[in-house]
């Protein structure tokens, strides 16, 4: 299976740069999510990879083969790219039965009739819908339709699979089930897959890698863990889960822990950071809500900061607290429910250095987004 490589890809719609100089490699056999808010250009990127839209600049190659090159105007039409695609709208053809839907790609790839039936069944079995082969799309539930769409996309063993927000039309519970199923199918067939989504939980749970996209650019790409624990950009930190952001300055960068000074807190805080962060660099400290430990104000003066509870939400196993610090900043804390908090309770908070991450990024870059 080849990987997919985008090289300096650009696409403009009128005055708007939908895709602004993207270079990335989607690795062979991996499932990579392209994650971003709506309008960030992720679907456009997918449509360009599929060949539905031609790029204005840059090139795309599948393995060693160039499939689109803006400089020479060369583009392989979508039907010759040997890919499978799963659409948000499912796009099952309503006039064809389930088996006919799945068989269509095989027919177009000139698979002989005798092998076709076997391949259709194999593909339907993979999504556990072999009993639906003679039904029509409208007779199936949303989740089943999406599974047929997946079966249709993998039936002819394409070298690349593209997913355009395939689960966003399903309800929450079904979405989680489908996630597992998708992951399983992908593990079985091991094809290079590109998965566009705006749902960070989906991207985190499904992908080998995630590329976070923001207004036409890729901010960072890496494994879900890398992105969550070592975000290179404050927008990445904020988009992947919730986080508290403090303006910060790096004052000590000795291994294994660095130390930063943050607004409203007197003493330096311990945290992690990248190796290339320079001393005295300005940036932000990202503190995940689960890194905040909240205690009632007591005799032990080891707190990083003091404040009062401004809102407390009981979520069952967890409690979500809003704490207004003495500096005036409000932060969020998420902790296992151990006691009942009341609004106005004075509290002492400490930050777990392992889960605090300093991002060296100037204010101008942050504001540019």
């Amino acid at each position: 299976m080849p990987g997919v490589r985008l090289d300096r890809l650009c696409k403009r719609f009128g005055d708007v740069a939908a895709i602004d100089d993207i270079s990335i490699e989607f690795l062979d056999g991996e499932l990579t999510s392209v994650l971003g808010p709506s309008g960030c250009g992720k679907t456009t990127t997918l449509n360009i990879i599929a060949g539905f839209i031609d790029p204005d600049g840059g090139s795309i190659s599948f393995g060693e083969q160039i499939v689109a090159d803006a400089a020479s105007g060369f583009a392989v039409p979508p039907n010759k790219r040997n890919l499978g695609m799963v659409f948000q709208s499912y796009a099952l053809w309503p006039h064809l039965s389930i088996a006919e839907n799945v068989a269509y790609g095989l027919k177009m790839h000139n698979v002989p009739r005798t092998e076709r039936d076997a391949a259709v069944m194999r593909s339907l079995r993979r999504v556990k819908l072999e009993h639906c082969r003679d039904r029509f799309p409208h007779e199936l539930s949303g989740g089943q339709q999406q599974r047929v769409a997946l079966a249709r996309a993998i039936a002819y063993s394409p070298r690349i699979l593209l997913f355009d927000e395939p689960l966003s039309n399903l309800d929450a519970q079904l979405r989680e089930e489908m996630r597992l199923e998708l992951k399983e199918v992908h593990r079985d067939i091991g094809v290079t897959a590109i998965y566009v989504t705006h749902d960070q939980a989906e991207a985190m749970s499904l992908s080998h890698r995630i590329a976070v996209m923001w207004s036409g650019r890729i901010l960072q790409s890496g494994s879900p863990r890398e992105l969550y624990e070592e975000p290179a950009d404050v927008r990445v930190a904020e988009f992947l889960g919730r986080t508290n952001v403090f303006e910060a300055r790096l004052v000590d960068r000795r291994a294994p822990r660095a130390r930063v000074l943050i607004e409203g807190v007197g003493q330096p805080l311990e945290c992690r950071t990248t190796l290339d962060a320079r001393l005295n660099a300005a940036g932000v400290l990202s503190v995940r809500p689960e890194a905040v430990t909240v205690k009632p104000v007591g005799p032990t003066p080891t707190a990083d900061a003091l404040g009062r509870v401004s809102s407390a939400m009981y979520l069952g196993k967890l409690s979500q607290l809003q704490i207004r610090l003495e500096s005036g900043k409000t932060i969020e804390a998420l902790e296992l429910t151990r006691r009942t908090w009341n609004v106005g309770d004075p509290v002492a908070v400490t930050f777990d250095p392992e889960q605090c991450f300093f991002i060296a990024q100037s204010a101008e870059i942050r504001q540019a987004s």
Binding site: G51, S61, I66, D69, N79, N82, M85, S221
Partner: protein, 583 residues
């Protein structure tokens, strides 16, 4: 992700690709592009070539120069009368069609009048009746001496005819009867979608019913009312059959009939004058349609008229509901029942004016009308050939054009959309005059054959097809097509296997609309036929002038039966298509 290594294979392949835009274009040339290009060129040719001749050729190649034609134009006998008549007709029809239609809208949309469903269908029945047939039926009913109403009145002792349909009031009455469905349909659509809570809010705020109607209902339905008004104006401006049947015999000409009787079939023909009048008529229609497009465009800001809106308030009429029912029944009687009854009477009666008892009825006319020696038979065959082939050709063409309008680049889209709507501004006589010039000359000499009629029909009814089929294209998600492409289907294969079956109901509806319009076509056929290429409608007009009422009635009923059969057949086919899509 790993950064890019040295991109040697990339550059190597780039070198292999031919440079230049042309090479790029050629690379992408597939069967689909060729079909699209051929269809687009055909469309542009069909529309613009006759227009070129109408605007330019008629003066450059005619016997008169533009200035001579203009000089002759001002001195034409009776032209001022014809223009005045047209004005009278248009502005008489306009209020009367509203007077007929608005009560029906109110009755069906807002009251508890019984039989609302039936009234609703009956209100659009005249829409289905061709104006030609309506005019014929009304002439049979109310011609001064022979009309059944006047014959009956004479038996009751009236010495003078009580109503003369061959007059301006008669013309206006028939026009208004047959154009009121346009008002009914347009205004009713808005009334039904109007959110009733808006009216309730006004009533709650203390406004009276009259104030509510004035301040809320009227402003909200104004765009629809204006648009309906313009539709009636353009339709009555371009109507040929009604003034042809009811006006021309007594010398009441309108623009359209003047072009025919006083310019084209005048001896010697005044072609240049016809071209001038046609240009004027086209400009007028164009202006009205442009105004309508603006109004409809502006109407979109009335967001309150949304698709959802809850069901409007129904006014309980009590005993008055029988009065409204009576009104509706009279309307149905005058527009549908009486005309059809008189046509059946005329087709079956052995002696005009006789009492319709079995001994006075005969089926002989049904046979003799279609005697092989008479032109009615060949006329019917011609009409069927033209309607089937014309509707089929136009459907194929509009299918490709609609595809291109929906999927093409913005420039192509705008251009094709514009060109394909030009024929909307060309009433039948205008199309015909343009065709006469265009296809009388080298290199496309079609005059004197059925081909010129075919070309005229396809050109004239293209916009109807484009609108219908383009509409169904727009409802199809592009994902269907993209999914096919992802599965490896070429554009042609995807179109054939996926889009075409999904579009089938829309295609059939477009075909049906064009077939029915073509099989009854009169307003351009009358200019373009030669002996041997008459169509049914032309034959009907000729037989009418020979006062052969029974034959005309038989042909009228034949046309209606054919139309109804086609509608039912297409509904069956489309229904089957729908079922196969949603089994």
């Amino acid at each position: 992700m790993s950064s890019l290594d040295t991109a040697s294979p990339v550059t190597a392949r780039r070198m292999a690709v031919l440079p230049g835009r042309l090479a790029r274009r050629l690379q992408r040339l597939d069967a689909a592009s060729i079909v699209i290009a051929v269809s687009a060129i055909t469309l542009v040719f069909l529309v613009l070539y006759p227009l070129f001749w109408l605007f330019y050729g008629s003066f450059a190649y005619g016997e008169l120069s533009l200035s001579e034609a203009l000089a002759q134009f001002w001195n034409l006998p009776g032209l001022d009368r014809a223009l005045l008549n047209t004005l009278w007709l248009v502005f008489g029809t306009l209020p009367l069609s509203f007077i007929f239609a608005l009560p029906l809208v109110w009755i069906t949309a807002r009251t508890d009048t019984p039989l609302k469903g039936v009234i609703e269908i009956a209100a659009i029945m005249p829409f289905i009746t061709p104006p030609l047939i309506g005019a014929v039926a009304w002439a049979l009913l109310a011609a001064p001496r022979t009309g059944l109403i006047n014959v009956l009145a004479a038996q009751f002792g009236f010495t003078a005819p009580i109503f003369n349909i061959y007059s301006m009031p008669g013309l206006i009455l028939v026009m208004a009867l047959y154009f009121s469905p346009y008002v009914f349909l347009t205004v009713q659509a808005v009334m039904q979608r109007m959110d009733a809570s808006l009216e309730e809010a006004s009533l709650v705020a203390g406004a009276s019913l009259a104030q509510t109607v004035r301040h809320v209902v009227m402003p909200l339905s104004l765009p629809a009312i204006l648009s309906a008004g313009i539709l009636v104006v353009t339709r009555s401006l371009e109507e040929f059959a009604i003034p042809g049947i009811l006006g021309a015999p007594t010398g009441i000409y309108t623009i359209t009939t003047y072009i025919y009787y006083q310019a084209i079939s005048y001896v010697p023909p005044r072609y240049e004058v016809a071209a001038l009048l046609a240009c004027g008529l086209m400009a007028l229609t164009g202006i009205f349609l442009a105004i309508q497009a603006r109004i409809l465009g502006g109407g979109r800001q009335f967001t309150s008229v949304s698709g959802k809106g809850h069901s409007p308030r129904v006014i309980r009429l009590g005993r008055w509901k029988y009065a409204t029912l009576a009104y509706a029944l009279i309307y149905i009687g005058v527009t549908v029942a009486l005309p059809y009854l008189v046509l059946i009477y005329a087709a079956l009666i052995s002696k005009w004016g006789a009492v319709p008892v079995p001994t006075n009825l005969t089926l002989a006319k049904l046979v003799t009308t279609f005697d092989p020696a008479l032109s009615a038979r060949s006329g019917l065959i011609n009409s069927l050939i033209l309607a089937v082939s014309g509707a089929t050709l136009a459907t194929l063409l509009t299918l490709v054009v609609s595809y291109t309008i929906n999927k093409g680049s913005p420039l192509v889209r705008v251009m094709l959309d514009f060109v394909s709507s030009i024929p909307l501004t060309m009433p039948g006589p205008v199309i015909a005059v343009a065709m006469l010039w265009a296809y009388l000359h080298e290199p496309f000499v079609l005059y004197g054959t059925l081909w010129i009629l075919l070309v005229a029909y396809v050109t004239h009814y293209l916009p109807y097809g484009v609108r219908t089929i383009s509409g169904s294209f727009r409802q199809l998600s592009t994902d269907f097509e993209r999914a096919a492409a992802a599965c490896g289907a070429s554009r042609v294969a995807g179109f054939r296997d996926i889009l075409l079956p999904l579009l089938r109901p829309g295609i059939l509806a477009g075909w049906m609309l064009m077939f029915i319009s073509m099989v009854r076509e009169l307003s351009s056929s009358i200019f373009l036929f030669v002996p041997g290429t008459e169509t049914t409608a032309v034959i009907m007009l000729e037989l009418w002038q020979e006062a052969r009422f029974s034959e005309v009635a038989v042909l009228s009923l034949t046309l209606i039966v054919i139309s109804v059969c086609v509608v039912m057949l297409v509904r069956r086919l489309a229904g089957a298509a729908y079922l196969s899509a949603h089994r």
